[in-house]
């Protein structure tokens, strides 16, 4: 089915971008957060600073440097073009790469904190009962830090949905490829089409509130009776 409505197309592109980005973020963010939680070196702060950079840097700065890196004039973009025959900049892949970098701290930081709080005690208990590394991760770490994984994934997803600067810089505004909701909203405002802008802005607002409420609901723990 071909979607004709440009706003609906933007919504689909946005959700697709956020879903792929969140999946990649969890796959690379989990081991990175684990490594940082276990790291005892003084150089840890430099890696932490690099991960946290998107929190303080204007998105356009990240977007600008990514645009250069992904263009065929520079090595990453050149390699990509040689391998796929396609240009990397202004593609769906490019906005996913940008989103992963831009949303990285929103996934890594809650996971790192959860792993640090978990400590080694229960993991040592698991070892002494015969559980190997993957067994310990899936049957001890993951269930205990489940709430932090939900938080990390939701924040990563929500932040990606709300992205504008980075996507605009490296993705442009190609319908069905790189035109996401925030850019569509910007287009409507530029065209003084406030009714459509309202519809998009309000749906983003309501969607974000629902998502955050769901995070808090899932993380809500009933007080337990301690004897």
């Amino acid at each position: 089915m071909i979607v004709q409505n440009p706003d609906l197309l933007a919504l689909i592109t946005t959700l697709k971008m956020a879903a792929v980005t969140t999946l990649i973020l969890l796959l690379i963010g989990t081991p990175l957060a684990w490594y940082l939680a276990q790291m005892r070196s003084r150089y840890k702060v430099f890696i932490e600073a690099l991960v946290a950079l998107p929190l303080v840097l204007p998105p356009t700065v990240i977007g600008f440097y990514l645009l250069l890196a992904l263009s065929p004039q520079y090595l990453p973009g050149k390699i990509w073009q040689e391998l796929t025959g396609q240009q990397l900049a202004f593609s769906f892949t490019a906005i996913v790469i940008g989103s992963v970098l831009y949303s990285l701290p929103f996934v890594v930081q809650p996971l790192q904190k959860a792993f640090e709080q978990l400590g080694n005690d229960v993991l040592e208990a698991g070892k002494m009962l015969g559980a190997g590394p993957l067994d310990r991760f899936f049957h001890i770490v993951l269930p205990i830090t489940k709430a932090s994984f939900i938080t990390a994934a939701s924040l990563g997803f929500a932040h990606t949905v709300g992205e504008f600067g980075v996507v605009l810089m490296i993705g442009g505004n190609i319908p069905g490829e790189t035109r996401v909701l925030s850019i569509a909203l910007f287009d409507h405002v530029e065209a003084f089409n406030y009714a459509k802008a309202h519809a998009l802005a309000l749906s983003l607002l309501v969607g974000s509130v629902i998502l955050l409420a769901l995070i808090y609901l899932l993380n809500y723990q009933r007080p337990t009776d301690r004897t």
Binding site: D121, A125, G126
Partner: protein
Amino acid sequence: MSDLNLNISVNYDPFNLTIERQLPMTGITGIFGHSGSGKSTLLRVIAGLTQNAQGTIICKEKMIFNSETNYFIKAEQRNIGLVFQDSRLFPHLTVEGNLLFAINRCKNPQLNIKDIIELTDLTVLIDKKVTQLSGGEQQRVALARALLAEPELLLLDEPLSALDKQNKSLMLSLLNKVQKTLNIPMYYVSHSLAELQQLADNLLVLNSGKVSHFGNIHQVIHQLNNGGTIHQQTSLSLPIKKHLVDYGLTSLQLNNDQEIYLPLLEQYITKNITEDSTKTDQPKHLRCFIFASDISITKHEHSGSSIVNHLAAKITDISAQQRTTLVTVQCQQQVFYVQISLWSTKRLVLKVDDEIYIQFKASAVHTLDNGDS
């Protein structure tokens, strides 16, 4: 040889733990030492939780660690269990979930979960969340969980240190029962000599990372009396003879014609409460200890004293301590340690081979079975 051969050195500058010793893989071996003596480090090295060691560890003729060849069997593959001081239960699982975690990873399960649940008295707690349990209950779950992994060797790292007197006493009885029922060798670390006196068959004493004593529990405790590092005491394991319910006393058979009395052990009283238990096939032995400072010496047989324990003995050694004298006496085969003041030593003109009497109140005979700590 089914022992544990340790030849290890661990350096945490300036601390160094060096042990070259063969430890038995039967019964309960106590590991005693003051804070920082290396007790827990030793357990962690045996368990495989630290790789920062040099040397070799051979468990039942199987090499599990050799630093020269970089051979290191991971903790999860050593089949050694460890009960931690702080239980370390998995908070996302129920009591049953914690126990199943161990069973599901046991390569050749022989034990029946129901038997272990009954043995550790967890039946009523089985569906509870572990966060809802008291400290004593959590340690019982930790013990049951460790047992269900069916380790070749069970290490216990001060498992009672966070418990109150009542729970301590219950756990000690439980550990005794578990060891006797399942026959799993245990290494029990504690800085409480009283706990170890109640449980261990052998005692390894660590002092600043080195083994200072090793041997039979009672003998080692008596050797420690001369070191000045412990509360000097006589360590005993005697058969229970009689429960004198009307008088609130229990008697223990010391020698053929000598008994010692202690406050009534109510938990041992059976239907026939005044039965002479030494006449049955297997009289129940009781571990107890008497502090040297609680025993006095008299040169004459007493008459008209309220003190119930009055035993004829012979002095075998007199050793002057800093401000007191430690007198070693022999009551037939049993040795006793008596601490008296320098003034009393001078006043009584005590000499080796003197025939004297020692006396102590029933309440001076301590056992954790009656809640003493």
